[in-house]
Symmetry: C2
Subunit: 210 residues, 2 copies
DNA sequence: TAGATTGTTAATCGATTAACAATC
DNA sequence: TAGATTGTTAATCGATTAACAATC
């Protein structure tokens, strides 16, 4: 087996849980505790760790500080990760106001738009014309971007991003994006998440009478 | 096999693709076209449909209007789905401004907060005191809620929601929520999505030299 | 009819879980 | 030592894909 989306998402969850445990003063942790914390099995936890060559003590579990360090390294916390946003709408504005990214080493560097009325060159996170995207990406060697533009513009924006050297995209637009082989696209579709919820709530509702 | 998260998410994607095709004037579609549109195999498409008893014509593919109707019904589009938000912060404000939900039959009915300075009883989507949550949920028979409160408050809010009769939660807080058996919780964690992207971009980067 | 597409079954693939030897 | 926990292998489970008979 090789690392896949789910296993990496679990690593992020372990990391979060470990941060919490650490701030509560805990020093070591067992696979069982972590499983509880993130909602999987202890087997899963040990399997995930073994996949990344992370080992604990046969009886003493895992040292939290040591484990955290390794997870953080795997997840790229050894350096500041710069990210740009394309589309300065509602989502972008929520993301830019959110204070939590910075303490996880994720820095929103700039946002871009085509609408001049949105430009704010002097903001802490500046909102710049789309024309400047390529320069900013290259100068800062940015590899990650968030697409938060309307549906119809998404592919076009993505192509621009790939051309500028972006390798990973988090796409909020409800459009599948065609991407080069050496690039990754992850999707966030809140409408689909809600539809999913609606479906399962309906099903559970009907199952009730059994 | 029985419907699982992935198959339902795919139904949402088929629906989106069909809407697009319909607005372009297409009348029928083959499993192959849909597979292309959403990025899966034609087998997958036919399998998904057969799971829900949706059938096409042995040679003529699927009638778009007919197919859309069935998918929409499965996804709860036969009635307006009312949703509330708890926590009137950045995410809530982005969601409330977003115009796309309404045309998919998803109505954000109200938001709730504990901070009186946030209350806006006369907004189109009112922001109300948390104390009123239970009443609003019961009066409107709302079953779906979005949690957009800080980490530490999430479980507490969730318990309140379950007590009020909420059956499905979309949770933006980075906390696993303990829920009754007859309730569903879906998670959106943008930080984890970005960490995921960072990991795979790094891996692809290292693989390049092969 | 010939060709193309569905619907479904069987095969494959991959991820999760169980089990247990190693060992602290 | 005895008991508990890891690390890993094998078994299971479930989802995806391939294949193909049915048929329009």
């Amino acid at each position: 087996m090789v690392a896949n989306r789910n296993s990496i998402i679990r690593l992020s969850r372990y990391k979060n849980a470990l941060n919490r445990l650490q701030s509560l003063g805990f020093v070591k942790v067992f696979s069982d505790n972590l499983a509880d914390a993130v909602g999987c099995t202890a087997s899963q936890v040990r399997k995930d760790f073994s996949l990344f060559g992370i080992s604990g003590n046969k009886k003493g579990g895992y040292q939290i500080d040591n484990l955290l360090e390794k997870l953080q390294y795997i997840l790229g916390k050894d350096k500041i990760q710069k990210v740009i946003i394309v589309g300065a709408g509602n989502i972008a504005s929520a993301l830019m106001k959110y204070k939590g990214f910075e303490k996880e080493g994720i820095r929103l560097t700039a946002a871009f738009d085509i609408d001049p009325s949105k430009f704010k060159k002097n903001n802490e996170i500046p909102i710049l014309p789309l024309e400047e995207l390529k320069t900013v990406v290259k100068e800062n060697q940015i590899r990650i971007a968030i697409i938060a533009v309307p549906d119809v513009a998404a592919q076009q924006v993505a192509d621009l991003l790939f051309e500028a050297g972006i390798k990973g995209i988090l796409n909020f637009a409800p459009t599948r994006i065609k991407s080069p082989d050496d690039c990754v696209v992850n999707y966030v579709n809140l409408e689909h998440e809600l539809e999913n919820l609606i479906y399962f709530v309906n099903v559970l509702d009907k199952t009730k009478v059994k």
